[in-house]
């Protein structure tokens, strides 16, 4: 009974402790302990869900369409586990990477706020609840992105803030319209009403358009992605690593949830839109990335491109397509976060991320070079890393569902990704240091043991996800089958 609310209660307990405890050191230790606990709970949920398909919990013992439902199916459990993995790595990394001043001012309180929002969104079975968790996550991210209030952060914060607020307004307006027409907010109940009545209220379509636009802004899909590259390179590196791993993925998670519950009734209308959103995000993200010369900006544009892969997987709307999308989502979370973490180390050593003045980082520390190699070439899709399995599955699903053109584009985009990653690799790690400041190269390296630990955790996960892809894909296929079987979800919630 405590199991399902636990991923929400746990960060809540940490927030209370962070408010009551004063010492920075205690906060750091507590945050690592709590993120380990969170991973353990996510693991237990994953294990349980794998046994029994779905588990749910009714808040306050109110029955399903009236009370708030928390539900975990395989997809949510998988996302919970991957986000717990990302979070634990980022927490360990932050303890060393974030300056003392920020930790003293309760940096960890806000990261746990984000964790609470993310976990809540994955578990929410009620559409307004989903909105509330989105907002919890957003409040945490608003504060973290402007935390410290440096000049560069302010601009990123303002763009991030305004566009994300607009997306929330879209989402909430959609909820208002839907509630006015359907009189219910429980997603399963709404889906059932749509499925059984067969008739759709006149305002159904606008509500869905508002939802999709809201989620597309949150997930940084093609016409709505501008806030992401404008803001992700501004905060401290640990913060952008956390954002890259968790935030956009929640938007995509909600899009998949909404699509498999409601939108598939209007396949003829939504499928081409989703497909083209995916293709354009993929292509435009990767092409704009090639022209950038800031380490984190290249990676930010790649987030857009990678999100496109997930969305085309959804648009194929077959079991293999959805399974590929889920696998890719998981792979992208860990690989992207790890790449941002390496960027954080480079920033710590050189105080800049402009690739034109960087160089010879491989000589400085070989291990970080290897870690970047693993995450970058996992993003590009080289075997035996997780990205290879993800891309292979997406392209295979595309060919199987007669989207050969899309599969070709995906292959082509993979080539460009490889180009960008090679560019970073050469510019940052290989080429001679253009500043020719010999003293700079010989300065003693700053301590980075904990940062390294965080990054190694993710690198090992990337390799593991690539090598043991078969059981994970099998799990994702089951998750996809559950997603496509809407009736099962409805029956489980409303029984």
């Amino acid at each position: 009974m405590i199991l399902l609310p636990a991923p929400i209660v746990l960060p809540f307990v940490f927030i209370i402790l962070a408010l009551l405890v004063k010492s920075s050191k205690a906060k750091s230790i507590l945050s690592i302990a709590f993120s380990i606990l969170n991973l353990a709970i996510a693991g237990i949920i994953l294990f349980q869900v794998n046994e029994v398909d779905m588990i749910k919990s009714q808040m306050g013992s109110w029955p399903a369409p009236f009370g708030i439902t928390l539900i975990a199916d395989r997809f949510s459990a998988f996302m919970l586990f991957m986000s717990a993995l990302v979070f634990i790595a980022v927490t360990i990394y932050s303890v060393q990477s974030i300056d003392k001043e920020r930790i003293k001012n309760n940096y960890f309180l806000f990261t746990f706020g984000i964790l609470m929002g993310v976990n809540g969104s994955f578990l929410a079975g009620d559409i307004f609840n989903l909105y509330v968790w989105f907002e919890v996550m957003l409040m945490g991210s608003f504060i973290l992105i402007s935390f410290g209030g440096e000049r560069i952060q302010l601009e990123g914060a303002i763009k991030y803030l305004i566009l994300n607020l607009i997306s929330s307004f879209f989402f909430v307006a959609g909820i208002g319209i839907l509630y006015g027409k359907m009189g219910s907010l429980n997603m399963a109940d709404l889906a059932q009403k749509f499925a059984f009545t067969g008739s759709f209220p006149s305002l159904f379509e606008p509500a869905m358009v508002l939802f999709v636009v809201g989620f597309a802004i949150k997930g940084a899909l093609f016409p709505f992605f501008f806030w992401l590259p404008a803001s992700y390179h501004t905060p401290p590196p640990a913060v952008s690593a956390l954002f890259a791993g968790l935030l956009t993925k929640v938007g995509i998670y909600s899009l998949i949830r909404i699509y498999t519950l409601f939108l598939f009734h209007f396949d003829y209308f939504w499928n081409p839109i989703i497909l083209w959103l995916g293709i354009l995000s993929m292509v435009i993200g990767v092409i704009t990335a090639t022209s950038q010369f800031d380490f984190r900006k290249v990676l930010s544009f790649h987030i857009i491109s990678q999100v496109g892969y997930v969305v085309i997987g959804l648009a194929f709307y077959t079991i293999s397509g959805l399974a590929a999308a889920i696998f890719f989502l998981g792979h992208n979370m860990i690989s992207k976060t790890n790449a941002f973490m390496v960027a954080g180390w480079v920033h710590r050593e050189r105080k800049t991320l402009n690739m034109k003045v960087l160089g010879e980082m491989f000589n400085k520390n070989t291990l970080w070079g290897v870690l970047f190699f693993i995450s970058a070439f996992s993003l590009a899709g080289l075997p035996p890393l997780s990205g290879f399995a993800g891309k292979y599955l997406i392209i295979k699903a595309g060919i199987e569902s007669d989207h050969i053109f899309v599969a070709l584009i995906a292959l082509f985009v993979g080539l460009f990704t490889l180009f960008s990653m090679t560019k970073i690799w050469i510019e940052v790690f290989w080429k001679n240091n253009p500043t020719e400041n010999a003293a700079e190269n010989n300065t003693k390296a700053l301590p980075h043991g904990l940062m390294l630990t965080g990054s190694i955790i993710l690198a090992l996960s990337i390799i593991a996800m690539g090598i043991w892809a078969a059981p994970i894909v099998e799990f994702c296929e089951k998750a996809a089958a559950d997603l496509l079987n809407t009736q099962k979800y409805i029956n489980f919630v409303l029984k």
Partner: protein
């Protein structure tokens, strides 16, 4: 500049606001009212007090820092949320203590009241944090 009339009125105003807030807090759940509204009203009293007496005096009156009050409020919320677990019910289920006091009559004591009290303390803490820190930055005193 000290203004003795204003000072007396404000300290009286604070007491009135606090009593009204507690009335609204206890009235909640079965009637319009509740923790959030009560907290807004209580913190209005404190804000007026801070405008006249300065923020230091309010901080002294609260004994703990506003952050700690937030923490305590959230702790009450957490307790009320998790208490039903020990009676093997889903979390947040309302638990009621049957109470029929000789003088006070029938009181509805239970986890919803605890939850509302937690909300009251938290929201007061949040609003006071916001306003007091803005006043400190603007050097209101």
């Amino acid at each position: 500049m000290r203004n003795i009339i204003l000072e007396k009125i404000v300290s009286l105003f604070l007491k009135v606001m606090l009593i009204f807030a507690i009335y609204l807090l206890l009235r909640g759940h079965n009637n319009p009212g509740g923790g959030f509204i009560a907290a807004i009203i209580a913190s209005t009293g404190f804000v007026f007090y801070a405008i006249i007496y300065g923020t230091k005096k309010v901080e002294k009156m609260l004994h703990l820092s506003t952050h700690q009050w937030m923490g305590i409020g959230l702790l009450l919320v957490l307790i009320s949320t998790l208490l039903p677990l020990f009676f093997s019910k889903e979390i947040q289920t309302g638990l009621w203590i049957p109470s029929d006091f000789p003088v006070l009559g029938l009181l509805s004591l239970g986890t919803p009241l605890l939850f509302d009290t937690g909300v009251f303390v938290t929201v007061s803490g949040v609003i006071l944090t916001i306003i007091l820190s803005i006043m400190e930055v603007l050097e209101w005193n």
